[in-house]
């Protein structure tokens, strides 16, 4: 399904209005702690909220065709590659907590290479292993980043 950017400005405008309203609400919540109407932590959230709503409305009601981007989101294999890569990154965040740096990075790098480069499994394992080792040297040995160790605490 090709998702045309037909409603791009309407969607953008609506999101801006929504964020603007949230900002105004936050300003309203913080107002009791303020010195006066323009001095305090509420002031900028209030101004920005009002501006977001105003610009959002103007974008929402803008006539179609005025500087429309005519972009199309990818479909088929490309969409799969894009979504799978992003999902894999989110999974990596979870895996690293439970299995630690080495196991999770190795698995994720192999799958990413298989997915993006479409190499043979053997090549993917070799390259994935190399990437994991180099990044281990950089982030853990040199930068001393304390990644979660997970269940493989010996790694």
């Amino acid at each position: 399904m090709a998702a045309h950017a037909k409603y791009e400005k309407k969607i953008g405008g609506s999101i801006a209005i929504l964020i603007g309203l949230i900002s105004i609400y936050e300003a309203y919540k913080l107002y009791p702690y303020s010195v006066n109407i323009v001095t305090g932590d509420h002031a900028l959230p209030g101004f920005i909220g009002i501006l977001l709503v105003a610009v959002g409305i103007s974008l929402f009601v803008e006539k179609k065709g005025q500087e429309e981007s005519h972009s199309v989101l990818p479909t088929g294999k490309k969409r799969f590659k894009l979504s799978a890569s992003v999902i894999l990154l989110f999974i990596y965040c979870i895996l690293i907590e439970y299995f630690g740096y080495v196991a999770s990075t190795l698995v994720v790098s192999i799958i990413l290479i298989k997915l993006i480069a479409q190499n043979r499994w053997m090549n993917a394992v070799l390259i994935g292993g190399l990437i994991t080792a180099v990044l281990y040297g950089l982030f853990i040995v040199i930068l001393k980043t304390p990644f979660p160790v997970g269940i493989f605490s010996f790694l």
Binding site: A5, Y33, T39, L44, V55, L59, V86, Y92, C93, L112
Partner: protein, 505 residues
């Protein structure tokens, strides 16, 4: 005279084996990342920023400056050899650089680009040494109202520079402000926009947002374009000939001066100056018909202008704390991470470190010129690294880099989410630059605003009642008009040359 002494002092401190190694490493790392297709200076600095955090602040900053210069140089390699302009400011370089490469003169084009970048960098540095302390001295007279006006106006002018709709730019800037407000409020200490979640109380980490918007987004764009290693043109000769140098010397000088003097004005970006330089060279040439088919002046002028504008950007960054472009916004964030506050006080409070960093830039430029010409073959080889291998590496480094700043998995999630948002913004032509600049400057603008309001007991007219503030406002109107005129012209030129809309760099 005093500034020369400071610079000399900085130079004498930089010339130690460890500092020289750091500058060299930064320049080489920057070039390495810059030559990889699709990665520009901003992503190079963002991805490598966490790596520099183990260093002493001065060394970290020297390395960051080297990375910035190196990646700027690396960008011209892909533009010339593969016809891929990493950023819109490199488009004019492709117009004659790629035809020259196809004619077997890639080495000449790359060599002239390196010499142009070097001379522009040196002119930019001279300007920095002469103007930045003076400007910082003047800026000491600024109070919070003047700062607020200056930053707000600078942003408004920059919004006009994105190349996309002004309304979208403003909206993206406001969204950036909104993101910068998340966290602890500066007057009451109350959490803002945390919606009851403790992980939002600390606010968003700037580096994670930048890694997402520039590095992860770049990979997603590459996946969509199905980037395969494009065949590069073979390099036959690395060094430019005497004739090339003869033909280019005036173009380099003109490009450097034009890029620097226009570039220090607010509202003039590197894209504008590089196109202006290209058109100027074409106009002055005795053989204008050669342009677009392989005129060496068509590489020399724009490359010099591009680099001179970028170097000129250090003046408002260091003396006023205002970044003129996304890579400088990341550098501003880096300065803050190292505990420095860019602005007029920087030259007073951290004078030794600032002059050390400035001196290191001088050496970095020399390293780039001396090393990069013989290494052109190696850099060219790197452009052939398959995207299938490069993409997983960039993604993993982005995730691990985002984690390493605050050791927080929340920051990694933020980087991934902003990576997706960046892809969508790019897809539907929503400019990222106003978002980044407002996210970085948001806290400074808010503190200036609150201080101004406290000074005036809530009187908003304080911004027009004070003479300096009023003068800034009036000057801003003039710059905005000039900027709008030049912007329209550059937009038209970019459309003529590429047939598509691009976000300006």
């Amino acid at each position: 005279m005093e500034t020369i002494m400071y610079l000399w002092g900085g130079l004498s401190e930089v010339i130690t084996p460890s500092n020289l190694f750091i500058v060299l490493l930064g320049s080489l790392l920057g070039t390495l990342v810059g030559v990889l297709p699709g990665l520009g200076p901003t992503s190079a600095i963002a991805v490598l920023l966490p790596v520099t955090t183990i260093l002493e602040p001065a060394q970290g900053l020297m390395m960051m400056a080297g990375i910035y210069y190196g990646s700027m140089y690396g960008g011209s390699t892909t533009a010339i050899l593969m016809n891929i302009p990493g950023e819109s400011s490199s488009v004019p370089t492709t117009l004659d650089g790629y035809p020259l490469a196809k004619m077997g003169r890639a080495g000449s084009a790359l060599g002239i680009a390196a010499i142009g970048s070097f001379s522009a960098g040196i002119i930019g540095l001279l300007g920095l040494v002469l103007f930045a302390p003076f400007l910082a001295d003047q800026a000491l007279k600024f109070g919070p109202p003047e700062y607020f006006t200056l930053m707000l106006i600078a942003l408004l002018v920059l919004f006009n520079l994105t190349g996309y709709s002004l309304r979208k730019s403003i909206l993206m800037g406001l969204f950036g402000f909104f993101v910068s407000l998340v966290g602890i409020g500066m007057t009451t200490g109350m959490p803002r926009f945390n919606f009851g979640f403790s992980f939002l109380t600390g606010g968003f980490d700037m580096v994670s947002i930048i890694i997402g918007l520039f590095a992860i987004t770049e990979v997603l764009k590459g996946l969509e374009e199905d980037r395969t290693a494009r065949k590069r043109v073979k390099i036959k000769r690395v060094y430019p000939t005497k004739k090339d140098l003869q033909q280019s010397k005036n173009a380099i000088l003109r490009g450097s001066l034009l890029g620097f003097f226009l570039g220090i004005l607010p509202g003039i970006s590197a894209t504008i100056t590089s196109f202006l330089s290209y058109d100027l060279e074409k106009k002055l040439s005795k053989q204008p018909e050669k342009f677009g088919k392989g005129a060496i002046e068509g590489v020399a002028g724009p490359e010099s202008a591009n680099n001179a504008t970028s170097s000129g950007g250090f003046i408002p960054l260091l003396s006023l704390g205002i970044p003129a472009s996304p890579p400088l916004a990341v550098l501003l964030a880096a300065l803050m991470i190292y505990g420095l506050t860019p602005g007029p006080l920087l030259f007073e409070q951290n004078s030794q470190m600032v002059w050390m960093v400035i001196a290191s830039m001088l050496l970095g430029n020399i390293f780039l010129l001396v090393l990069n010409l013989p290494l052109v073959g190696l850099w060219a080889k790197l452009t052939e690294v398959p995207f299938g291998i490069l993409a997983p590496i960039i993604l993993l480094v982005s995730v691990l880099g985002a984690y390493s700043v605050r050791n927080s998995m929340f920051d990694v999630t933020v980087a991934i989410i902003f990576g997706i948002l960046g892809y969508l913004f790019h897809k539907f032509h929503w400019p990222i630059i106003p978002f980044v600049l407002c996210t970085v400057l948001g806290p400074k603008i808010e503190s200036s605003f609150i201080q101004s309001m406290e000074m005036s007991s809530g009187n908003l007219f304080i911004f027009v009642e004070r003479p300096i503030s009023l003068a800034i406002l009036l000057l801003a109107v003039v710059f905005l008009v000039i900027s709008i005129f030049l912007m329209k012209r550059t937009k038209k030129r970019l459309m003529q040359e590429t047939g598509e809309k691009m976000e300006f760099s």
